[in-house]
């Protein structure tokens, strides 16, 4: 689950009451952690430190960093952006600030930018009148409303186990209507339960279902991607997926592509996080048996061989934490960017020297061949284990600029191009 700044609020206390006992009595001396995640009891009563894993002596102390308590002030953001490196002709500026834990972004029909959040529990609307931007908190108190989408005047929000629809949202920013529950046949686990919404042209929504731990045999309702129709019917479209919090429809083919965070606690350099493509219904992407297309899990391979599974389109690197992604469909950037992919990498925590915390650019054929990546925007990583920001999502603006949501600094940036 590389990178996601986990917040555990919301896991049923009842389920956790036994956690202290489950951890077992050990000697008083500090010991290495290990977990038996091979049994249903593990996810039925997950320990409080579920995101940790069997650690080595060298890995002791690695833990997700705590982000700033308040959004980064504008002057400091502007200072940070001076250190961001981009290809020639591109520039980055602050689009909006003061947006705690900003995650997925979605455009309303009339130019409102809706923004989900992580533990802040809020959904924001960024409005723009003549270049003057205003941030409104339009929804509060939701359970990790990381994913948002918009269609036919309605805002869709996914908050762990509820997909909600707010009709006529864009004209009701001051007082949002009561939501309609579109779909709630979802497990309540908060662990890797935060989601991303990708809407296809029929209005069906791709939703990821992550396993409630680092590695193990997950409940059959998890570790998959579903396609949920607006009427609440759902179909399984992919299996064997770990923590995915980003994807997009390929404008060339209509196929669903998605990013995936690989397991932690193997090593600094293994296994790699992935970019995947669903070529046909029901493909299995390997988790928990096989990682990065060629690495059987040391504990949970269960006799499977890696060639039984759909390999990644591209291995992006270990612990880079790819989250939101978009095919570039704008016309502002040079022609070679058209239909290529931008990925927001949130960056590491389970690695001694963090990597990621940047935007990468992937060019790839529609069938997944000839994939290659290059760094597009970097500079938010300011030390071995320090960030000034962490990209969590990207979206293409109407004018072709690329917006970047940063949940560490609580801000949105705009990357534009002029020759």
């Amino acid at each position: 689950m590389s990178g996601t700044s986990l917040r555990k609020r919301g896991i049923a206390l009842a389920a956790l009451a036994a956690a202290g006992l489950a951890l077992g009595a050990g000697p008083a001396a500090a010991q290495l952690k290990s977990y038996d995640s091979s049994k249903p009891s593990f996810w039925k009563n997950p320990p409080p430190d579920w995101f940790l894993g069997d650690e080595t002596e060298g890995q002791k102390g690695l833990a997700p960093p705590v982000g700033p308590a308040t959004p980064t002030p504008l002057a400091e953001l502007q200072d940070n952006l001076k250190k961001i490196k981009l290809p020639p002709g591109f520039k980055i500026e602050v689009y909006a600030s003061g947006i705690p834990e900003a995650r997925q972004m979605a455009w309303g029909d009339n130019g409102t930018l809706f923004v989900g959040s992580f533990g802040a529990g809020s959904v924001y609307a960024v409005t723009d009148s003549g270049g003057k931007r205003e941030v409104k908190t339009i929804l509060k108190g939701l359970n990790m409303p990381t994913g948002v989408a918009f269609r036919d005047g309605a805002l869709y929000v996914v908050a762990i186990d509820k997909l909600l629809r707010y009709d006529g949202a864009e004209s009701k920013l001051g007082a949002m209507p009561e939501p309609t529950v579109v779909y709630d046949d979802m497990p309540p686990f908060v662990a890797h339960g935060w989601k991303y919404i990708v809407m296809d042209k029929e209005g069906a929504m791709y939703l990821p279902f992550g396993p409630p731990f680092n590695i193990g045999i997950p409940p059959t309702s998890l570790s998959q991607i579903r396609r949920v129709h607006p009427n609440g019917l759902a179909e399984l479209v992919a299996l064997g997926v770990r923590n995915s919090v980003g994807g997009d429809i390929d404008p060339r083919t209509g196929q669903y592509w998605f990013t995936e965070n690989a397991r932690d606690w193997v090593s600094d350099d293994m296994p790699s996080d992935k970019l995947n493509r669903i070529g046909r219904l029901g493909e299995h992407f390997g988790y928990p048996y096989c990682h990065q297309g060629d690495m059987p899990d040391p504990k949970f391979a269960m006799g499977h061989k890696c060639d039984e599974f759909t390999p990644p389109v591209l291995n992006l690197g270990a612990h880079v934490a790819p989250l939101g992604m978009k095919f570039y469909t704008g016309s502002m950037f040079p022609a070679e960017y058209r239909n290529t992919i931008f990925i927001a990498e949130h960056g590491s925590w389970n690695r001694h020297k963090y990597q990621g915390g940047r935007i990468v650019h992937v060019t790839v054929d529609p069938d997944g061949k000839n994939a290659k990546q290059e760094i597009f925007a970097e500079g938010w990583l300011t030390g071995a284990q320090e960030y000034s920001g962490r990209p969590a999502d990207v979206v293409v603006a109407k004018d072709g600029a690329l917006l970047v949501a940063d949940d560490w600094a609580g801000a949105i940036y705009r990357i534009s191009y002029s020759r």
Binding site: K8, R9, L16, P48, A63, P65, A69, T70
Partner: protein, 194 residues
């Protein structure tokens, strides 16, 4: 970079003074009302009040955010924090974090209870986030050298959800599994874990 744009960029640099993460001196000034209870050096005389000197900056700032929003409950701290701007809150955290951490005078030694606390802290794996010396990490506060009175109250508050966890921490869930006796023992042990 073309000269015209270089000039613009230079002008932009002048327009915005180099941003600091937080201003310790401004924090010191703003902290004056805090010192009546938390001590002029961030070390408290009243054993029920936490010492803030040398505590982790992010942790302190998150606590003020929690008090301000009412997610952490305290009749004294909520009204104090309600008036704070984001900037003041950042500066206060930076100021208290910058002070040297000094152990408050320990309470009476109770070796048997100390040993029980040591065992309980190991059982509940406190050190895996708070580190082996309980001095904290980027993601978790220092919990060594706080008075037993305060630590016990903190654990009780976590247990009854009167305060939320910071970041990845799952203190409500961890404390949910603690007995009264364990809280007493852990709080005494952490006062002087050496």
């Amino acid at each position: 970079m073309r000269p015209f744009f270089a000039a613009l960029a230079a002008a932009a640099c002048l327009a915005f003074p180099t941003a600091e993460a937080a201003d310790i001196e401004a924090g010191r000034v703003r902290a004056e009302p805090c010192m009546a209870c938390h001590g002029t050096d961030g070390i408290t005389a009243d054993r029920s009040i936490p010492s803030l000197a040398g505590q982790k900056e992010r942790y302190l700032q998150w606590q003020l955010v929690f008090f301000r929003s009412g997610r952490r409950q305290s009749e004294i701290m909520q009204p104090q924090a309600a008036e704070l701007s984001d900037e003041e809150l950042r500066n206060l955290g930076a100021f208290f974090a910058s002070l040297p951490r000094i152990s408050p005078p320990p309470g009476p030694a109770e070796p048997a209870l100390h040993e029980m606390g040591k065992q309980a802290a190991a059982r509940h794996r406190c050190a895996s986030c708070h580190m082996d010396n309980y001095a904290g990490s980027q993601a978790a506060p220092a919990i060594a050298h706080q008075t037993r009175e305060y630590t016990a109250k903190a654990l009780e508050d976590y247990r009854k959800n009167a305060r939320p966890s910071v970041g990845v921490a799952a203190m409500n869930e961890v404390a949910g599994g603690l007995s009264d006796d364990e809280i007493t023992a852990i709080a005494l042990y952490l006062e002087s874990p050496e």
